[in-house]
């Protein structure tokens, strides 16, 4: 492994329900500002969601917005913002060497539901079914829309990995850079899931959809009164480069991809498995050549479900419980569950900690569930850490996919 090139993050582009740039998002996390609001969707009715208000027309014509998908718009916004943040003018790079790797939990449900709703108005006459359906619903749609917007001609596709997808977008980007398949990667994840009523109805049927009189308190991982997930849209794409390339162009380096692990529970369609989660965390540490005590922030996946949070807390305690310098937090308590974007967004919210050493909290913990108690859990108020040299970002998904990604502070070319 030591012969493989080192991979660094040099740009961040994001839209979250509580911020449309890393600066806004980070400030919201430090200020305890939720992005969850009342929401209504056809057939399902009133519920809660994390909605984004980024300015899509900044990078797309109104016609392109109409022709493409919400996930595509989110991806295009994030890709442009990430490049801008990295100081990269796409016209100056060899666009055949740019890869776009976008994690998605699901894609196509929004458009299919919309078309069925449309043809229902015409007594299910399929001559009213749109010719846009297939290009909007193919599984590579958001990544493909990014290539159309940027005129990049390298490999571009989506990675379907349920709610672990955001991490997978980053991990795959690193792998493609290591292999020399691309010279610049735009990787992360997107989610348009709040525009499909099916996902709300599905979680409700599972008794896993959050309800609360105060929308900002609905997503409450680790709290004894948590009652389910708040679904959100959003996106986060990073520019990733080989360290040598980043140094050559004197890029600002947010952090270095230190290690990762992706594994499978092989135990249930929806129920998590803390043994496999712990194995995943240890696998990432091993790959990074680190000990648990080398990690200073563990960003949990916890989605505010009874069983999921408990399982993850057990895994975190198993791996990190003996190490006093480890802080544990959660981002979904602010923004809900941004599905395919979750892993990528949640990492982004923690990256500034390398500079300011402030660990944002998990909010809405009024009464900590004893089964979710974890050493180092940062509750409701930010905490200043003694040091923040490495972050482990966890994302798990249905069908038992687990991912753990470690990003470390960049400490020089020799480090």
């Amino acid at each position: 492994m030591s012969n493989l090139p080192r991979i660094v993050i040099t740009g961040v582009g994001l839209t979250a329900p509580n911020g449309n740039s890393l600066g806004e998002f980070r400030q919201a996390l430090l200020n305890g500002k939720s992005g969850v609001t009342p929401y209504e969707i056809r057939y399902f009715g009133k519920t809660l969601a994390g909605q984004c208000n980024f300015e899509a027309t900044r990078y797309q014509s109104r016609k392109d917005i109409r022709r493409g998908t919400r996930a595509g718009s989110i991806g295009i916004y994030c890709a442009h913002e990430a490049l801008k943040d990295a100081g990269i003018d796409i016209r100056d790079v060899d666009r055949s060497r740019v890869g776009v790797f976008v994690g998605t939990t699901e894609h196509g449900n929004v458009e299919t539901e919309t078309e069925i709703h449309n043809v229902k108005q015409y007594n299910y006459d399929l001559s009213f079914w749109t010719h846009h359906h297939n290009p909007r619903t193919v599984a590579n749609n958001p990544a493909g829309e990014v290539t159309l917007a940027l005129s990049t001609t390298g490999p571009a596709y989506c990675i379907g990995a349920a709610c672990a997808a955001g991490n997978l977008g980053l991990i795959h980007s690193a792998q493609m850079l290591m292999l020399g398949e691309v010279d610049l990667a735009l990787g992360g994840g997107v989610s348009e899931s709040i525009h499909t009523f099916g996902i709300f109805a599905g979680f409700k049927a599972q008794t896993a959809l959050a309800t609360h009189d105060d929308p900002t308190k609905a997503s409450r991982p680790f709290d004894a009164a948590r009652n389910g997930i708040v679904i959100s849209e959003g996106g986060c794409l990073y520019t990733l480069e080989r360290l040598d390339d980043a140094l050559k162009r004197k890029a600002r380096i947010y952090g270095e991809i230190a290690g990762w692990c992706v594994n499978s529970d092989a135990s249930d369609y929806v129920l998590p498995n803390s043994v496999r989660q712990a194995e995943c965390m240890r696998g990432a540490l091993k790959r990074a050549g680190m000990e648990p005590g080398d990690i200073h922030i563990v960003n949990t996946h916890a989605t505010s479900t009874m069983q999921g949070d408990e399982m993850e807390a057990a895994a975190v305690n198993q791996v990190f419980g003996d190490f006093p310098g480890v802080h544990v937090n959660n981002t979904k308590s602010f923004i809900g569950h941004a599905m395919g974007a979750a892993g990528a967004l949640e990492l982004a919210g923690n990256l500034p900690s390398f500079d300011d050493r402030i660990v944002h909290p998990t909010i809405n913990v009024e009464s900590l569930d004893p089964k979710c108690a974890m050493r180092g859990l940062v509750i409701n108020q930010s905490r200043k850490a003694e040091r923040v040299d490495a972050i482990m970002n966890m994302s798990f998904g249905m069908l038992g996919i687990n991912s753990a990604l470690i990003v470390r502070r960049f400490s020089g070319a020799g480090g």
């Binding site: 109104r62 016609k63 009213f128 010719h131």
Partner: protein
């Protein structure tokens, strides 16, 4: 619908499909695709909107009849049912 109303109906559809385009000065005898950034998918949108809004089915063998505003009016004369637009 008279010819002016048919022409306006087409322009309204184009304005919805291509909202970034200026449709105020379209030349009636010049191909629409030469005056605007319209591609084959947009063209299919026009056909779909004619079906939705006016109940007109344009078979693919007749698509060429919709090349200019004038040819649209000629082709659609007598075919458009004036009814509340259904968007």
């Amino acid at each position: 619908m008279n010819d002016a109303e048919i022409k306006q109906a087409i322009i309204d559809i184009i304005s919805d499909i291509a909202p970034d385009e200026d449709t105020s000065n379209l030349k009636p005898d010049v191909r629409l695709r030469e005056q605007m950034d319209l591609d084959s998918m947009d063209f299919l949108d026009i056909v779909m909107e004619l079906r939705k809004r006016y109940g007109v089915n344009v078979p693919d063998t007749d698509y060429m009849q919709l090349a200019t505003l004038d040819s649209c009016v000629n082709y659609l004369r007598g075919k458009l049912v004036s009814k509340t637009a259904k968007v």
